[in-house]
C-alpha cells in the first residue's frame, strides 16, 4: 500500500515539525530557531549561491570516495571470501582497520599527505573500506558452489562467471553496504572537511559554529538530508528493483 505509507510518513514528519515549532516558541532562544526561520535561511543560502557551491563540493568528494570504497571493497571482499588462506592471513589487518577511530585516520592522512584533496578523499575511503570488505566477504563466502561448478563445467570463463553467476548473488550485499555506506561516508566527509579543507559543508558548519549561527547549521543539515534522501529514492531504490525483478 504505497499511498498509505506516503500519508504515514508525511503525517509523521509533520508531527516532528509541529513539535519542533512548539518547543522553539516555548524556549524562545537563539539556540533553537523555529522551522520557518530555518527554511528562510535555507532559501536565502540557496539564492546567494553559497549553499549550492559548498553542497556541490561535498557531493563531489562523497561520490568519488563512495565509488572508490565500493569498487576496492568489493574486489578485496570477493578475494577474501573465496580464498580461505588469504582471509586467515589478512583478517587481523581488517580488524585493526575496523577499530581505528575515524578521527585518527583523518588526522594521520592530513599529517602524512598534507592538507590536500587527495588526503581528504583517501581518509574517507580508508574509513569506509573495511565495512564494505566485511559485508562483501560474507556474501562471497555464501556463494552457491553448485552454480559455480555449473559455470566451470560449461566453460563460462572468469568474466562470464563473475558477471552472471557471482555478481547477482553478491547484489544484496553490495546494496546493503551501499546503503550503510552512504550514511557513514557523508558523516565522515563533513569531519574531513571540518579538519582540513577550506570549502564544503563541513567547513561551512565549522564556520557557523564559530559564529554561533545555529539557524544556518540547521539549514545546511536539512538541505543535506534532503539530498541524501533524493539519492536513495532516485538511484538506489530503482537499482534495487531492477536487480530483483526475477524474484
Amino acid at each position: 500500500m504505497p499511498r498509505s505509507s506516503f500519508i504515514n510518513s508525511t503525517l509523521s514528519l509533520g508531527l516532528l515539525l509541529v513539535i519542533w515549532h512548539v518547543v522553539a516558541i516555548l524556549v524562545d532562544s537563539a539556540v533553537l530557531p523555529t522551522p520557518a526561520l530555518v527554511l528562510n535561511t535555507l532559501l536565502e543560502a540557496i539564492r546567494s549561491g553559497e549553499l549550492p557551491h559548498h553542497l556541490g563540493i561535498t557531493l563531489y568528494r562523497l561520490t568519488i570516495s563512495f565509488i572508490l570504497a565500493m569498487l576496492l571493497g568489493t574486489a578485496i571482499g570477493v578475494i577474501l571470501g573465496r580464498h580461505q588462506k588469504t582471509n586467515n592471513f589478512f583478517d587481523s589487518w581488517l580488524i585493526i582497520l575496523l577499530n581505528v577511530p575515524a578521527l585518527v585516520t583523518i588526522i594521520l592522512c592530513y599529517i602524512w599527505f598534507g592538507l590536500v584533496e587527495t588526503a581528504a578523499i583517501f581518509a574517507v575511503v580508508i574509513n569506509k573500506l573495511p565495512n564494505v570488505i566485511v559485508t562483501i566477504r560474507e556474501g562471497a563466502k555464501n556463494l552457491d558452489e553448485e552454480l559455480i561448478q555449473m559455470a566451470k563445467a560449461y566453460r563460462f570463463g572468469r568474466f562470464k562467471t563473475l558477471r552472471h553467476v557471482v555478481m547477482p548473488q553478491l547484489y544484496p550485499y553490495v546494496m546493503a553496504s551501499a546503503r550503510t555506506g552512504l550514511a557513514l561516508i557523508w558523516k565522515i566527509v563533513l569531519v574531513v572537511e571540518l579538519l582540513g579543507r577550506s570549502d564544503g559543508m563541513g567547513y561551512q558548519i565549522h564556520l557557523f559554529f564559530q559564529l554561533f549561527d545555529i539557524t544556518s547549521i540547521l539549514a545546511y543539515t536539512v538541505s543535506f538530508i534532503i539530498v541524501i534522501q533524493l539519492i536513495e529514492m532516485t538511484i538506489l531504490k530503482p537499482l534495487d528493483k531492477q536487480a530483483q525483478r526475477w524474484k
Partner: protein, 245 residues
C-alpha cells in the same frame, strides 16, 4: 570417430577436518566410442559423481588420465546435474545462451525448446517453472552446447514415474536427433537397461568397473517385461554382480 578413454589410477580425498583419508576410485578404466550411450550403475556413495566431475575437469586432483582421441587436451563436456542448476536471475533463453561460446541461432534454440514442450517459456524465470520443466531446460542446455561428451548425473531422480518415463523418452529422441557420447549415472538398473547401449557396474568404493554388459535389445522393444527379463538374465549369468542388482 571419437573415442574417449578414462583411466583413473586412483582418486583420493586427503585427510580433512579429522576425517580419515578416503580412496574413492581405484584402477578404473572406461572407454567410449562413436556416440555411445553408456549407463553407469553402482551403490550410492561409490564415487559415481566423483567420476563425472573428474571427466568434466571440475576435479583435477587425481592420478591418471582422461583422453579424447588420444590427445590430452581439454575435453569439451556438457553436464546435466542431479539438480537443474539454472541461474535463477536469468531467463530460460538466457540460461541456455550463456553456455554458448559462439552465437547459436535463436531458431535452433527455439526448435530444441519446442521439442521439449517449452516453447512458451522462453522468457520465464526458472522458479516460475515446475521441477520437471526445470529439468527439461537443463536437458536443453546440455544438448544445445557443442561437446565431445554429455555427462548426466541421475538427472531424473526426483521426478515421479510417469514424468521420468517421459523425460527418458525425450532424452532418447534428442540423442537420436543429435548423436553424441553420453555417460549416464543412475542407481536404478531398470532405467539403465531402458536407455543404454552398454551398462557398466561399479563396485563399492574404492570403486572400479566390475561388470560391462551390452544391452542387445532394440530400443523400440525395451518394454517393462523385457527389461525385467534382461535383469534376471544378468543375475543368472553374472553371479558376482548379484549383490549390486
Amino acid at each position: 570417430m571419437n573415442r574417449l578413454v578414462v583411466d583413473i589410477k586412483s582418486k583420493r580425498y586427503p585427510k580433512l577436518d579429522g576425517k580419515e583419508p578416503f580412496t574413492a576410485i581405484k584402477n578404473l578404466h572406461v572407454e567410449l566410442t562413436d556416440n555411445e550411450f553408456v549407463c553407469i550403475v553402482g551403490p550410492s556413495g561409490c564415487g559415481k559423481t566423483t567420476l563425472l566431475n573428474t571427466i568434466a575437469g571440475l576435479d583435477l586432483n587425481f592420478d591418471g588420465s582422461i583422453q579424447m582421441d588420444g590427445e590430452n587436451q581439454h575435453i569439451k563436456t556438457s553436464y546435466v546435474f542431479q539438480t537443474p542448476r539454472l541461474l535463477p536471475w536469468r531467463t530460460v533463453l538466457e540460461n541456455i545462451q550463456l553456455t554458448h561460446e559462439n552465437n547459436v541461432p535463436l531458431a535452433t534454440i527455439k526448435n530444441l525448446l519446442e521439442s521439449l514442450g517449452l516453447s512458451d517459456n522462453l522468457n520465464s524465470y526458472p522458479h516460475h517453472l515446475s521441477l520437471g520443466m526445470q529439468r527439461r531446460v537443463a536437458l536443453a542446455r546440455a544438448f544445445s552446447v557443442e561437446c565431445d561428451i554429455l555427462l548426466m548425473d541421475e538427472p531424473f531422480v526426483s521426478l515421479d514415474q510417469p514424468t521420468a518415463r517421459k523425460a527418458r523418452k525425450l532424452l532418447l529422441d534428442l540423442w537420436q536427433m543429435q548423436p553424441r557420447s553420453i555417460i549416464f549415472v543412475t542407481h536404478d538398473l531398470n532405467e539403465a537397461i531402458e536407455l543404454a547401449d552398454r551398462v557398466l557396474f561399479l563396485s563399492e568404493s574404492p570403486s572400479t568397473v566390475v561388470g560391462d554388459i551390452m544391452v542387445d535389445i532394440a530400443r523400440t522393444e525395451r518394454t517393462v517385461e523385457k527389461i525385467a527379463a534382461f535383469k534376471h538374465q544378468i543375475k543368472e549369468s553374472h553371479q558376482h554382480l548379484a549383490h549390486l542388482i
